[in-house]
């Protein structure tokens, strides 16, 4: 190998972007095709700099749009090698056509999505609108709560995506600015250990194997399209979760760091809980502990795998709780929020009598404060005491003006 290893301290102070860039370096990505957009740009800048300093060997293709970035990634992945890129928001929206193509062609690309609001109005700050836009695209979606997760989940993502039983692209999400630009202590792996976790890329149906020519991206109409889509969904529903769990288990053995498909905090005896994603998980955990000091048995459920949606894991996590708040950080566009709907779907037809309500928060980078969560847990406890949901099913929190609530 012609490139140089990098000496890392056991704990480095990295923001989420740099943590992800370091993970891409340690996975020795063969091709990155990318286009800059705030706040994800430093990830691919990091890869370019590692390349310039000979800490990685590969090709960085700085293309002319995010659509071209994913198009180039698809061509590179079909050629047969390890491929990654990063984007946010509008760039993600521009990529959407190619996201469906990447997953339908079963190409193991890893896309770091630094979550940011979607215009209009234009906004560079974090919410989950872009993550939600990708939720039907047939990708596996992992969610980070902090820079450590953004680092670790990239390794998990390559392991799962490149598994020949899976062959599906993966997104690793982190919150724009709150994670991507906030430096924290990150426990590292040395280069050899990190690479050993993902291993060498094992090509399949690679265009550069000239002894076995392949045709990628065919047309299927009413005669075969449904079967292809059904098979992709079948693999998402039946094959992916066991592979993710196995990767989490191996990762814990290697590093001692534990990840779960659904993260449960103080849920063993919880009466009330919030279900949320991203940096809000950590805020909610802190407030839940404070609520417990006040006599409210509060807990937090964090979604770690957004797609495939952890249906059974959510059922298990919520089976004994009495009131649940689903926190959605995306403008719901005339419907309940995604998490609200998914959780309602999980719990319907089960024996749970839990009261479910939904909250829309944090759009365009608006802070979710501890005060918001104290009020929210208090509201949930009031629901439990009354035996019914006392509020409308959908409330907006942290927004100016008269209280906004629906349903």
């Amino acid at each position: 190998m012609a490139f140089d290893k990098m000496e890392l301290r056991d704990i480095e102070v990295w923001d989420g972007n740099f943590a992800a860039a370091q993970a891409l370096r340690q996975c020795q990505i063969d091709v990155v095709a990318a286009y800059p957009i705030t706040p994800s740009t430093p990830i691919v800048e990091g890869y370019a700099k590692f390349l310039a300093d000979n800490y990685v060997e590969g090709e960085f293709v700085m293309v002319e749009s995010e659509h071209a970035a994913m198009s180039g990634c698809i061509g590179a992945a079909a050629a047969g090698g390890r491929v990654a890129t990063a984007t946010s928001s509008q760039g993600f929206a521009l990529m959407v056509e190619t996201l469906y193509q990447a997953s339908g062609m079963r190409l193991p690309i890893v896309l770091n999505v630094v979550n940011r609001a979607l215009a209009a109005p234009l906004n560079v700050n974090g919410d989950h609108s872009d993550m939600y836009l990708g939720r039907d695209s047939g990708w596996i979606q992992f969610d980070s709560y902090c820079p450590q997760d953004a680092y670790d989940l990239n390794f998990i993502a390559f392991r799962v995506a490149e598994d020949h039983d899976v062959r599906l692209p993966c997104m690793v999400h982190q919150d724009g600015f709150m994670t991507s630009h906030t430096a924290q202590g990150v426990h590292t792996m040395d280069d050899d250990t990190a690479y050993s976790f993902v291993g060498d890329f094992k090509p399949m149906n690679d265009m550069l194997d000239f002894e076995h020519p392949v045709t990628h991206g065919v047309q299927t109409e009413e005669d075969w399209h449904f079967e292809h889509k059904a098979r992709q969904h079948n693999d998402l529903m039946t094959k992916v979760m066991p592979k993710i769990q196995a990767a989490f288990d191996d990762f814990k053995t290697l590093t001692g760091r534990e990840y779960n498909i659904v993260e449960r905090y103080d849920m063993d005896d919880a009466d009330v809980c919030v279900v949320c994603m991203g940096t809000s998980v950590e805020t909610a955990r802190e407030v839940a502990l404070e609520m417990r000091a006040k006599g409210i048995k509060a807990g937090v459920v964090g979604i770690r795998v957004v797609r495939p949606f952890p249906f059974f894991e959510i059922q298990e996590a919520l089976k004994d709780v009495k009131a649940i708040a689903a926190l959605d950080r995306s403008a719901p566009g005339g419907a309940p929020g995604m998490l609200f709907n998914e959780i309602a779907g999980c719990l319907f037809n089960t024996d749970t009598k839990a009261l479910l309500s939904g909250y829309i928060y944090g759009l365009g980078g608006r802070d979710l404060t501890k005060k918001h969560l104290v009020d929210l847990f208090t509201e949930l406890q009031a629901n439990v005491d009354a035996g019914k949901v006392l509020t409308p099913l959908q409330q907006f929190i942290g927004v100016r003006g008269p209280k906004l609530q629906f349903l």
Partner: protein, 318 residues
């Protein structure tokens, strides 16, 4: 080392083994398959091919069949060029890392796309590929219309043509805009080689494709592809139409080296009046009404002026 095919005559050419099967769904008389065979037949080297969405793509890769006996990819309408650019980047990465399965090969990266996928929706992607210097060749199958979706105008559709979105009618002569000069635009990227080719002049075509495959860097090829369905002529007349297109100088054959040095590569012995080219196609039928005959005169003047311009460019050697 690159291995270019040596083909002496048309008979040898027609029986030469190729990697694009005759079993496909293209219309009888479609020039696309002829052009593709001529391009692929220019080399014995391995190929990494793409097709953008369009006639070629939907007629050659319908699951569970394929007409391609070479590595081939289709992603979407606009990004076929970037697909092979990505594959080329991976080739370079794996070559440097010593991970190619067959390191002794010298693959050629070629993307095929229609004029809609090149002049219009894929314009930015192709420009990006040309500017970045990928070692790829982009071949436009230029039938001057969105044929796959039923004959809508593209920015390659010539003035006076009746297309479904610019139809000739009681008060209209059809398309109002001149065709975009894509070869000039691509040459302006400073790429090592760009050229216009036609399937009837197959030796000229093969020579240009081989030149393009030998140079280091991006290559742009614009191939005239008469469309029996949308140009409205009898399928048996494809080559006759192609002859008319080159011999009337509506499609002059030339090359531009390093973005500036222009060479005319075919000078018809007997230049055919543009009127004959137009008269052979249903899409220009309405131009022969008295009120539109001035357009035929303008057509001829435009073609003459362009030919004079190309000759001046060639003489100037700049």
């Amino acid at each position: 080392m690159s291995e270019m095919k040596k083909i002496k005559n048309l008979k040898e050419f027609s029986t030469s083994a190729d990697r694009f099967e005759g079993a496909n769904l293209l219309c009888p008389g479609c020039a696309h398959s002829i052009i593709v065979r001529e391009v692929l037949n220019a080399t014995n080297d391995d190929l990494v091919l793409s097709a953008s969405t369009g006639c070629l793509e939907v007629c050659t890769a319908v699951y569970p069949y394929t007409s391609w006996d070479a590595s081939w990819i289709h992603i979407g309408f606009e990004n076929g060029s970037t697909a092979v650019a990505g594959a080329e980047a991976m080739y370079n990465a794996l070559k440097n890392k010593g991970r190619l399965k067959q390191p002794d090969r010298n693959p050629k990266f070629v993307s095929f796309a229609g004029d809609g996928a090149s002049y219009d929706i894929g314009f930015q992607w192709i420009s990006g590929c040309m500017e970045r210097g990928h070692n790829i060749m982009h071949v436009v199958l230029d039938n001057e219309v969105y044929a796959n979706t039923g004959g809508q105008r593209s920015s390659s559709t010539p003035i006076g043509s009746s297309a479904t979105t610019s139809p000739a009618g009681r008060v209209s002569y059809g398309e109002k805009k001149n065709k975009k000069d894509m070869v000039a635009i691509m040459a302006s990227h400073g790429i090592p080689y760009s050229a216009q080719v036609a399937p009837n002049k197959w030796k000229d075509m093969v020579k240009k494709i081989q030149h393009g495959m030998a140079v280091d860097g991006p290559v742009f090829i614009n191939a005239v592809s008469p469309c029996t369905t949308e140009w409205k002529f009898d399928p048996k007349d494809t080559m006759m139409l192609t002859d008319l297109s080159t011999d009337s100088l509506v499609f002059p054959l030339y090359e531009i080296i390093d973005g500036h040095e222009l060479n005319i590569t075919y000078r018809p012995k007997n230049v055919v009046p543009v009127e004959e080219y137009l008269a052979a196609q249903g899409r220009f039928k309405h131009l022969f009404k008295d009120e539109y005959k001035y357009l035929i005169k303008e057509w001829q003047e435009r073609v003459d002026a362009n030919w004079a311009y190309l000759n001046r460019r060639e003489e100037a050697r700049v």
